[in-house]
């Protein structure tokens, strides 16, 4: 019976029940709910639940070959996050995490744009509490910005869905193009969550500010849900190829100079999304398989990397590269797991990144897209730089450490161990991953040409690193803020807006003062006339003016 529920719903229900469950049983209950939700993975393909409401037919639960791989990996990610956070007693964060994962899984199974919208906003509203859980003033501010942007994405999606329904009479998920206005709205809505160039600021702003465990959860769902949505609605959209290529290349430079290693990983996440977006843009069976495979393995190794940095934050109290180093002695297991994650994301042969990225590179090569191919090849060297070398090097090596720290708690090690095992297992036995991809494609990643080519690239990039360090050309880590596209709304707009509003405020204030005075004069005359001496007229402030205007507008709306 439970398997005919909308997948993920049981997790959301459990999350609301968590406060009633004793602390000791919360994590088992969370795991159980993920297990029960995962039963839906065996339901096969088809439409299982529809709901007619207000003359709309909502498809709440459908499944096909594109949903299945995402659903599998979302469940795995949820399990990893729960194990990783086993030591934590933060109830709000647990509730938010479980509901967030559940919403993301629910979103995968939506069959129409309105159902998708509901889940889309649900992931925003639940995940904002995870950012909040960072529990610093910076995190709280970042959470508010995060919420505004995520909800805006949802609103754009809703506008797109309404326009589509109005113009075509249809609101089911379908392949769209950018020639229609609703297509553009939906494209931008997805683009915000997929962290397109210039729409990416929220990601690097909020993820690194979350808690030790929160960032792991955040890294898995929102952006990959957007990748899924793009793959479903915009496969073969040419502009995605360029958008994706820019996404792979640009974050690389930011990651080089960023000091906070969790922010470096957020730039790296952005770069990885670029590879997936290129795959969607090409739109062939091979490339779409590549996108799905890449999303699948990426969730695991990115979670692994964020977990290792979470463990570092938990034990050493910071993830700033300028203050870390030498942890390999005290956290040997975390070091090994981090290196496995780093080798996976760098796409070393026998690690999961290699078998997934190869699909996208091969589809580019097969189509003769030489420029994009080499941008991605170049970006691969960039991935090695920031995720492959910088993360493990500055956290665990770089220089000797004076203060002792403890190894990560056992639950963290277990979660990292599982993720590390999956990274290698998928890399060594890629056929199991290929079997669950949307299209049946015969593909052999381990050809001599390919392995040698990739190894040459990676090994000589490492040699370049050693060369730069040896000759002291490698930039030292500096405590700093690196400007990103969130600068536009964190500095530029307030920079223009604040003085502007101040001026408008002064203007309206003086206007009101004059009006108030004349009003007063009229009144004073009138209460002289009526002798109502208790009427007192004060000059309203700017805030008062706004309040009165809002009340007036509301009144008008109600009356109309």
């Amino acid at each position: 019976m439970i398997s005919s529920f909308v997948p993920g719903l049981i997790m959301i229900i459990t999350s609301f029940l968590l406060p009633t469950i004793p602390q000791y049983f919360r994590h088992p209950a969370m795991l159980l709910s993920v297990g029960l939700s995962a039963l839906s993975l065996f339901n096969g393909y088809g439409t299982f639940l529809e709901w007619d409401i207000l003359g709309l037919n909502l498809i709440l639960y459908q499944s096909d070959s594109l949903t299945l791989p995402f659903a599998i990996i979302f469940h795995i990610a949820a399990i990893l996050v729960i194990i990783f956070s086993w030591h934590s007693k933060n109830l709000m964060e647990h509730m938010a995490t479980l509901a967030y994962a559940g919403s993301a899984i629910g979103a995968l199974h939506a069959g129409d744009f309105f159902s998708l919208f509901i889940w889309w906003e649900a992931t925003a509203l639940t995940s904002v509490f995870i950012v909040f859980a960072g529990n610093t003033n910076v995190a709280k501010d970042a959470a508010m910005r995060y919420l505004i942007i995520q909800v805006s994405s949802g609103v754009l999606l809703l506008i797109g869905a309404c326009l589509m329904l109005y113009q075509t009479g249809n609101h089911n998920l379908a392949v769209l193009d950018l020639k229609t206005n609703f297509g553009i709205f939906i494209f931008i809505a997805f683009g915000i969550k997929a962290a397109f160039p210039l729409l990416n600021g929220w990601l690097q702003d909020s993820y690194p500010e979350s808690s030790v465990t929160g960032t792991v959860a955040l890294s898995a769902f929102t952006t990959k849900l957007a990748i899924y949505a793009l793959a479903r609605t915009f496969p073969g959209t040419d502009s995605l190829i360029w958008i994706g290529a820019i996404m792979t290349a640009f974050p690389v430079f930011f990651a080089v100079i960023e000091n906070d290693l969790r922010r470096v990983l957020s730039f790296s996440l952005n770069n990885q999304l670029g590879f997936m977006v290129v795959g969607i843009g090409i739109g062939t069976e091979l490339s779409l398989n590549g996108t799905v495979a890449h999303a699948f393995v990426h969730i695991i190794y990115k979670a692994l990397l964020f977990m290792s940095m979470g463990a570092v934050l938990y034990r050493a109290g910071t993830t700033k590269a300028s203050e870390l180093g030498g942890l390999y002695k005290y956290m040997p297991f975390t070091t090994i797991f981090c290196i496995i994650g780093a080798m996976s994301i760098s796409a070393f042969p026998l690690f999961s990144g290699f078998v997934a990225k190869s699909l996208i590179m091969s589809s580019l090569g097969g189509m003769g897209m030489v420029l994009i191919y080499f941008i991605l090849f170049f970006a691969s060297a960039g991935v090695l730089e920031h995720s492959g070398i910088k993360i493990p090097y500055f956290a665990f090596f770089a220089h000797e450490r004076k203060n002792k720290v403890k190894e990560a708690p056992i639950n963290m090690l277990i979660a990292m161990g599982i993720a590390a095992f999956l990274c290698i297992a998928i890399g060594v036995f890629p056929k199991y991953l290929y079997q669950i991809l949307p299209y049946a494609v015969e593909y052999q990643p381990y050809t001599l040409d390919h392995v040698i080519s990739q190894l040459q690239l990676l090994v000589f990039a490492i040699i370049a690193f050693l060369f730069l360090v040896k000759f002291k050309l490698y930039p030292s880590e500096i405590r700093s803020t690196v400007l990103n596209s969130d600068w536009f709304y964190r500095k530029m707009l307030p920079g223009i807006g604040k003085p502007l509003f101040k001026k408008i405020g002064l203007l309206t204030d003086s206007l009101y003062k004059n009006l108030g005075l004349s009003f007063k004069q009229v009144l004073s005359k009138s209460y002289k006339f009526s002798n109502l001496s208790y009427i007192k007229v004060t000059t309203p402030s700017f805030a008062g003016t706004i309040l009165i205007s809002i009340l007036f507008i509301m009144l008008v709306i109600v009356l109309v």
Binding site: F253, Q456, V459, L483
Partner: protein
């Protein structure tokens, strides 16, 4: 004593990486490496590309600090 640990690790790591690098280049001469684009089939092309890309990324990143780097409390001001 402690200082030597990291240094010696670094040294042996460098040694092995250089050996592997040399082997990979030598391997290129033993067979014809098929690529999607013919110019990439030149001996040691991926190695050269990897090395140059890496140096370029780091150097350009370093240069971009001039424009993108602010104080740590930049947004709090």
């Amino acid at each position: 004593m402690k200082k030597n640990d990291l240094k010696s690790m670094g040294k042996s790591f460098t040694k092995y990486i250089l050996i592997i690098g040399a082997l990979l280049i030598l391997l290129d001469f033993t067979f014809h490496r098929h690529e999607y684009f013919s110019f990439a089939e030149i001996y040691g092309f991926p190695a050269f590309f990897g090395f140059v890309s890496f140096v370029f990324i780091v150097m350009l990143g370093k240069w971009l600090r001039k424009f993108l780097m602010r104080k740590e409390d930049y947004y709090d001001q």
